[in-house]
């Protein structure tokens, strides 16, 4: 069965923060929170993005492809392949911890009513994404690196204040160093398998064939075996040490 990109038309562009925009399009995709798609920016590149709703992606501008995406407006077209990957599989009492643009897949989890407590982190107040909506659907705690809003410091600071062992599932997405801080704490308490970490690796095929996204030490594919892995699977290996760039070189 063919899985050619589905061509969608952008209907609305929402400016979330100075560096984050949500692109709403005209077709719905049935996804599980944590699953992602490959977004084809015609003439530029194809890059992985979590769904931020059945008909949207929420994008942080970080380089060439995202910059090109930022130049698009309502009426412009994108190609979407997906959904791909496993997504989160929360059970029991759920804690979500999102940092930066990593909030996106967790936002959809919270929006579907599956998150009890949400810890949201950003560098500074104006870079907080989805905070208002998250406050409506979860017990939201906010941390900013510069203290411009909520807790002054990292999300791990808030984590240290709460009883993490009382949660059955801890869903995490954000910069790898942030995730590392969280994993360390779970390992210390012996509950790393309750942690579900959404990983970011360089993706080319997104269907588990090319090997671009494979992680040491098990050789698991982030696109197909992930992007969500339990803490026990990633605590050894490359996590927080290195990853591979587009050529496969370690970076």
């Amino acid at each position: 069965m063919s899985e050619m990109p589905e061509i969608v038309t952008i209907t609305t562009v929402v400016n979330e923060t100075p560096t984050v925009k949500t692109f709403v399009f005209d077709k719905l995709f049935a996804f599980r929170p944590g699953q992602f798609c490959m977004v084809w920016i015609p003439g530029v590149d194809e890059i992985p993005m979590a769904f931020s709703a059945a008909n949207s992606i929420t994008v942080m501008k970080v380089g060439d492809a995202t910059e090109a995406l930022f130049s698009l407006k309502a009426g412009d077209k994108l190609g979407i392949r997906g959904p791909f990957g496993n997504g989160f599989s929360p059970s029991g009492k759920v804690l979500a911890i999102g940092g930066g643009i990593g909030v996106t897949p967790l936002f959809t989890l919270a929006a579907s009513g599956e998150v009890d407590t949400f810890i949201l982190g950003a560098r500074t107040r104006e870079e907080l994404v989805f905070a208002d909506d998250l406050a409506k659907v979860s017990d939201l705690k906010i941390a900013t690196d510069d203290g411009t809003f909520g807790f002054h410091g990292f999300v791990t600071g808030i984590l240290d204040q709460i009883d993490v062992v009382s949660y059955d599932t801890i869903c995490v997405c954000g910069p790898e160093m942030m995730m590392k801080g969280i994993l360390d704490r779970l390992v210390a308490k012996g509950i790393e398998s309750r942690g579900q970490f959404s990983m970011h690796r360089y993706m080319k095929c997104a269907v588990g064939v090319c090997g671009s996204c494979c992680m040491d030490e098990h050789g698991l594919r982030v696109c197909k075996d992930g992007p969500v892995f339990t803490g026990d699977l990633i605590k050894t290996g490359e996590f927080a040490h290195y990853h591979r760039g587009p050529s496969g070189r370690k970076e």
Partner: protein, 294 residues
């Protein structure tokens, strides 16, 4: 369906655990993923093609599933010499290092980096990398020279051919003359798709190569042709997805096979096929290799 026995001897110079290798470029960029595929039942693995310098590859989309297969234009992304460290932990395992270059000398350079390789596979066949792969692999003289130079590193040399030539037998013979220990047939078939809604080619590189079930009859035909033309073993590749497909390739003339795109449907494809293919009471594979030649 008949069943066969596991190999009792080396095949084309490599001590394979069964007759099925992971094809080049499929989960072949890291040592860990290659190791995983061995653990999941591959009889041997071929690495991603490694070249003289690190390449990030073509812009995306780089791979798209289509009816009956995949089209890809990865653009030979590879970490070059860094790959030596990647596969160091696999020393002693049946790891065939796929290499490429723009000239015979470059092939030689890359080969010199891998004294631990179980064998080299020369990618003279990738259809979407300008100056590399098929763009030089259609020339019999170049194929022979690349083979000769890599042969000086005293390892089995497998030469992987493109089906995108008028007569694959001529290229196969050139490899044999150059001293190849085996022919691998085939790499992907030149192909492309267009998004009619966007009115542009869907692959970032415009064109690429077709793999998967769609090309199986093309691959069988290539192996059958080559079996009549060369005396060295042939490794069949292209669209294999079942034990019966493996037998069919062997009957066409393949001593072993490589499997790539079938990973798309199942990462366990090797053990799934092995469960159907092998039996202790099976017949030796040698009995059926080439038996369909009438």
């Amino acid at each position: 369906m008949i069943q066969i026995k596991l190999p009792e001897e080396e095949i084309a110079g490599v001590p394979l655990r069964n007759h099925m290798l992971l094809a080049a470029g499929i989960l072949g960029t890291t040592g860990a993923s290659l190791k995983r595929m061995l653990n999941l039942g591959a009889g041997g693995v071929v690495t991603k093609s490694i070249g003289p310098k690190a390449i990030p590859g073509h812009h995306g989309p780089a791979l798209i599933p289509v009816d009956g297969g995949l089209i890809n234009a990865m653009g030979l992304p590879n970490p070059s010499k860094d790959f030596v460290e990647e596969i160091a932990p696999l020393k002693g395992e049946p790891v065939v290092v796929s290499i490429f270059g723009g000239t015979p000398e470059e092939f030689g350079t890359v080969a010199s980096w891998f004294p631990d390789a179980a064998a080299f596979e020369l990618n003279l066949s990738c259809p979407h990398a300008e100056g590399y792969g098929a763009s030089i692999g259609v020339n019999p003289r170049v194929v022979r020279e690349c083979t000769e130079i890599v042969k000086t590193y005293n390892k089995p040399v497998w030469v992987k051919l493109t089906p995108n030539v008028t007569d694959i037998k001529i290229i196969g013979k050139a490899a044999e003359e150059g001293g190849a220990d085996a022919i691998v047939a085939v790499n992907t078939v030149k192909a492309m798709r267009i998004s009619t809604e966007l009115r542009r080619p869907v692959l970032g590189n415009v064109f690429g190569g077709l793999s998967g079930k769609a090309i199986f009859p093309i691959a069988v035909r290539s192996v059958y042709d080559l079996y009549d033309a060369v005396d060295i073993p042939i490794i069949g590749c292209g669209g294999i997805s079942s034990a019966d497909n493996v037998l069919e390739m062997m009957m066409a003339g393949a001593s072993a096979v490589e499997i790539g795109s079938a990973i798309y449907d199942s990462v366990n494809v090797f053990s799934e096929i092995a469960a159907d293919l092998y039996s202790e009471d099976g017949i030796p594979a040698e009995e059926i290799v080439g038996c369909a030649h009438v």
